[in-house]
Amino acid sequence: MKNSISKKVTVSNPQGIHLRPAYLIAELAGKYQSDVNLETAAEKADGKSVLEIIGLAASSGTELNVLADGPDANDAVDAIIQLVSLGFPGEEAAKAENHQA
């Protein structure tokens, strides 16, 4: 069964996709059977690889194209779009706490 889908989302958290957001994306993408890829205007990354995602250097305001191909492609794309568009909920709060000192 072939099921490809792609949707765009803008990176909204102020710090952009640094290591921790990249980890959250890869962890989420890893829950789906579908292949997941992320694209910026310049680069493409395997959505399940932290190493590749940080290679996007996606700063706040960058438009990301989220692509998935597989049986659960729709769900995978929607989940990642939600994570990115909400600005990685919990992450900024955790960081604020981390940097209180």
């Binding site: 102020p14 710090q15 952009g16 996709i17 640094h18 290591l19 921790r20 980890y23 890869a26 932290v50 190493l51 590749e52 940080i54 290679g55 996007l56 250097a57 996606a58 700063s59 706040s60 955790a94 960081k95 981390n98 940097h99 000192a101």
Partner: protein
């Protein structure tokens, strides 16, 4: 962002002595003090901040690579260093593998873009199997400096 913009040869450690996570971070931060890139008075605070960041989730991203890092107000520009552990260190990595290659980064709080560009460069080079293999086999900081220079010169961007 090229390696030469944030890694000083004097801070590179080709054979880390430490055998645990805390020790590696201390050793690399110590190397940055010795190279004059961070103030000795800030050393403990920086080590603590990096360890606190590790508590949020290991920066061991798999394939024997870790990128321990923090923001810190005592630095005016991004500083970093490279360390290699011959035997590898348990870093609670994503893939459970021991870490041999360390890229430690300390960035000013107001420069998230520089941090992203440093990560981008590390990612780009480490996806190259040859670069990884050569780095793991480097015997001294001179070898590593040469390899980083080569990587910098091969960059298209």
């Amino acid at each position: 962002m090229k390696f030469s913009e944030f890694v000083k040869p004097e801070a590179i450690r080709a054979e880390l002595a430490a055998t645990d996570k805390d020790g590696v971070i201390r050793e690399l931060v110590g190397a940055l003090v010795e190279s004059g890139q961070i103030d000795a008075a800030e050393q403990d605070g920086i080590v603590k901040a990096i360890m606190k960041r590790e508590e949020l989730g290991s920066t061991g991203i798999g394939r024997g690579i870790a990128v321990p890092h923090t923001k810190h107000p005592s630095v005016e520009e991004l500083v970093g260093t490279v360390g290699i552990s011959v035997d590898g260190v348990d870093f609670q990595s994503l893939d459970g593998e021991k870490v041999q290659l360390f890229f430690l980064l300390i960035s000013p709080p107001d420069r998230p873009g520089d941090h992203l560009r440093a990560l981008e460069n590390i990612s780009r080079q480490l996806r190259d199997e040859t670069f990884c293999r050569f780095l793991k086999n480097s015997k001294n900081s001179g070898d590593i400096t040469e390899l980083l220079e080569e990587a910098d010169n091969n960059q298209v961007a």
